[in-house]
């Protein structure tokens, strides 16, 4: 496997770790989830109702 491909895969894996790690950390959090933390999740979900969510070029299937 070429170094460029290895770097590209590494980059992809890191980007996913970056996205998922905070959620996992919050899952292991014990105690009360504050109103601010709840608001943060609510803001994330509200943004996902956008009609433009899948309109970026990265979502297009090129034949």
């Amino acid at each position: 496997m070429s170094p460029a491909i290895i770097l590209a895969i590494l980059d992809g894996a890191l980007s996913i770790v970056e996205k998922v790690a905070p959620t996992i950390a919050s899952l292991f959090k014990t105690g009360q989830i504050t109103t601010e933390q709840q608001q943060a999740i609510k803001a994330r979900i509200d943004a996902l109702y956008s009609p433009d969510l899948f309109s970026g070029p990265e979502w297009k299937v090129d034949e």
Binding site: I5, L10, A13, V17, L27, I41, K42, L53, F54
Partner: protein, 134 residues
């Protein structure tokens, strides 16, 4: 190669964690979820799965030339590009139905919709693991 595997294994392990875990904490009842942990956990999973799958398809898009020698990556990304938006919208619809009426059938439907998102998230991260061991 071992250094390369660390973030890849982490990515898969973290996504795998989301397959089985729900949060340990309790909700402050004064918050926007009013103590509804099912809805809070659902929202967290919907948001995280979108961000994970989006990272994957964006990564494939940005590295398409480099990754051209591994056509399965584009094939997997293209499958997610078609399937994930449908699953995402279905999950939001199930979420809304559950919010409107917190019945057992609606809770089951939400759970089933979330399972599809979990699978997509696992596909995106597991694919990197497979390729990383080549």
């Amino acid at each position: 190669m071992k250094k390369l595997l660390i973030p890849i294994v982490l990515a898969v392990a973290l996504c795998g964690g989301l397959l089985t875990f729900t949060g340990c904490g309790t909700l402050d009842p004064a918050g926007v979820y009013q103590g509804d942990k099912v809805l809070y956990d659902a929202d967290m999973l919907i948001a995280t799965s979108y961000e994970t799958v989006h990272s994957f398809v964006l990564w494939e898009y940005n590295n398409r030339t480099t990754l051209a020698s591994i056509p399965d990556i584009k094939k997997t990304a293209d499958a997610l590009r078609v399937q994930y938006p449908i699953a995402h919208k279905a999950a939001l619809a199930s979420r809304d139905a559950y919010m409107t009426a917190k019945t057992a059938p609606n809770a089951t439907a939400l759970s089933q919709a979330l399972a599809v998102l979990r699978q997509a998230m696992t596909t995106a991260s597991a694919y990197l693991a497979t390729q990383g061991t080549l």
